[in-house]
Assembly symmetry: C2
Homo-oligomer: 345 residues x 2
């Protein structure tokens, strides 16, 4: 600090005020001191703080970068997690790591981060064991098969699917197909979100006396178009689709249109676990169940910080997606024996 004071032509006390932010210093003086600090490569807070407190005030978001296409929910999540961290005076680093825990383990050994937010959690996720055995504070966005005792925030798929079915049944639909993502690899077959949503659909259909038809398609518009064609052939009595595959939803609409099936007149489409922006990209604008992506990001970060600061943890939470009716759901076409209109235009 003496060097800085000398170079800036001020007292050591003044440098200290600036460094520790303990007293207001005239802007011109502050600038001179900061220029001197920059010239001398003086690093103010982080390293000193890390030594004193064994804390770096850095959190990591760990996500499998290349294995799974990030949806609009995940992007909203990362952005709001970074903002939430920043409000609590933490930094957020991005760790694109594989799912097996190896890379995560290596990165943790560097001692850079105080805690970790885990994204794209599998039902049996090796990263969780890695984190537990390293005693690293963490929170999951999503959850393992049995998340008892772990900190997590996740979408409440039970309630989401219930509400979605309420909406469709309220419009008179009885032949409802659930469309989920075809996993890009075997590991993602145990992707919690997919497994839980499908299970919720199955159970809820059973309670309602509906046949629980579940099909998968690739995570893109071409996959959706292909699915539309298959569905028209294989299940012409379908009057509504609940889809949890936002990148395919557009393709479903256009694939149906190509076969002369009009949304929503002939068939209703409800896109779940997605964003308003994604829904508005389609024509007709999709009825959606909006993911709480931003809330998940904020809560995930706050769960980790609470552990670090020894505060009462906010508790793990499940948040449902909220229904935002658009133009793609409407009353079921009349008469039970009416198959989908197949007018190849």
């Amino acid at each position: 600090m003496r060097d800085v004071a000398e170079r800036a032509g001020v007292s050591i006390a003044t440098v200290s005020f600036v460094v520790n932010n303990t007293k207001r210093v005239a802007p011109a003086t502050r600038e001179r001191i900061e220029a001197a600090m920059a010239e001398l490569g003086f690093r103010r807070n982080v390293v000193a703080r890390a030594l004193a407190s064994r804390r770096t005030h850095i959190l990591a978001v760990a996500y499998p970068a290349l294995q799974h296409r990030l949806g609009s929910t995940a992007m909203g999540f990362i952005t709001s997690a970074a903002s939430a961290a920043s409000e609590h005076d933490y930094h957020l680093v991005l760790w694109p790591v594989d799912n097996d825990g190896g890379e995560l383990s290596e990165l943790m050994r560097e001692g850079l981060v105080d805690g970790i937010v885990l994204m794209e959690v599998l039902l049996h996720d090796p990263r969780v064991d890695t984190l537990l055995s390293a005693r690293m504070p963490f929170a999951m966005i999503g959850r393992t098969a049995d998340p008892t005792g772990l900190a997590f925030v996740d979408i409440d798929f039970e309630v989401t699917v219930e509400k979605g079915l309420d909406h469709l049944q309220g419009l008179g639909h009885r032949e409802i197909v659930f469309v989920s993502e075809r996993p890009p690899s075997e590991a993602f077959r145990a992707y919690g979100a997919k497994v839980r949503a499908e299970a919720a659909f199955r159970r809820s259909c059973a309670e309602r006396g509906l046949e629980p038809v579940i099909v998968e398609c690739a995570q893109n518009a071409a996959g959706g178009r292909e699915l539309a064609h298959e569905l028209i052939e294989a299940r012409p009595r379908t009057t509504a689709i609940m889809i949890m595959n936002e990148h395919a939803a557009f393709g479903v609409v256009s694939g149906l249109a190509r076969r002369g099936v009009r949304v929503p007149t002939d068939l209703s489409l409800l896109s779940i676990s997605t964003s308003s922006d994604m829904g508005a990209t389609s024509d007709p604008v999709l009825s959606i169940m909006r993911s709480p992506g931003k809330e998940l990001g904020r809560l995930g970060v706050e769960l980790v910080i609470a552990q670090l600061e020894g505060n009462e943890p906010p508790g793990s939470r499940l948040l449902p997606c909220e229904l935002e009716p658009g133009e793609s759901t409407a009353p079921a076409p009349p008469s039970p024996p009416s198959p989908m209109i197949m007018n190849t235009s």
Copy 2:
């Protein structure tokens, strides 16, 4: 280290092998040592390294979080920047900061990062002055009005627009409208990408003897639909649209369809500075000029690291978008005096 050795029941030398990664240690022993380190809150590399070298091996990506909707290019960019940093043994933190340089300045004072990658650069960007006066190594994704002497990677809008016009003119189009983004705020009116692409379009049209018509629309599908209606009224002779507004492109297609204008039979649409995924979401699949988002992310990080490591800097680079013909561009409809077909269906 003595504490760790004691707790793990090994010699100090063995602990040192593990800590410094200098010699192979049996996995079981390594695990015991790591467990002991974790229990004692022992932080291995980062803090020690920061003290020794005055380096933290952390880079920040600074982007204005709430002011501008991030496109698919930006998302690809952040993901690949994180991967590139990780390959070079650096970490990437996300800094959602405002555009005026104030927050950036505060964050820099913490001494956390060695260098910064700046996104969403304005022509006169206060953040650049902040970085220069703090002598912080940085690279821009994008560039200011005069980027001489600064490290940057950016899209080559000149070449991109030229190639796009070559494609459309090669198909016989002469009445071409350029659609850009309506800025979400006054500050973004001086967004480099927008200004440069529009200027390139104006200049290139002048050289080709074409009328340079430029219109703006909001960054969403509704904006695109509105634009389609306006265009049919105001410029019925238009046969091709070059659009740099990926979130509106779908709306343009569906707005045209609602008015009975078929893409590409009646009108061609070329979406520039976007991704294949975004193009494939439309039906017909859009012809696009693909943004080099991933390359920009990688190069941006490498430009900063080269400065930090004192290597020969790779040099600032401009990369053009590459044409990926889809189903939305086709030969111009015959006969010069043919206005767009306006068959309100």
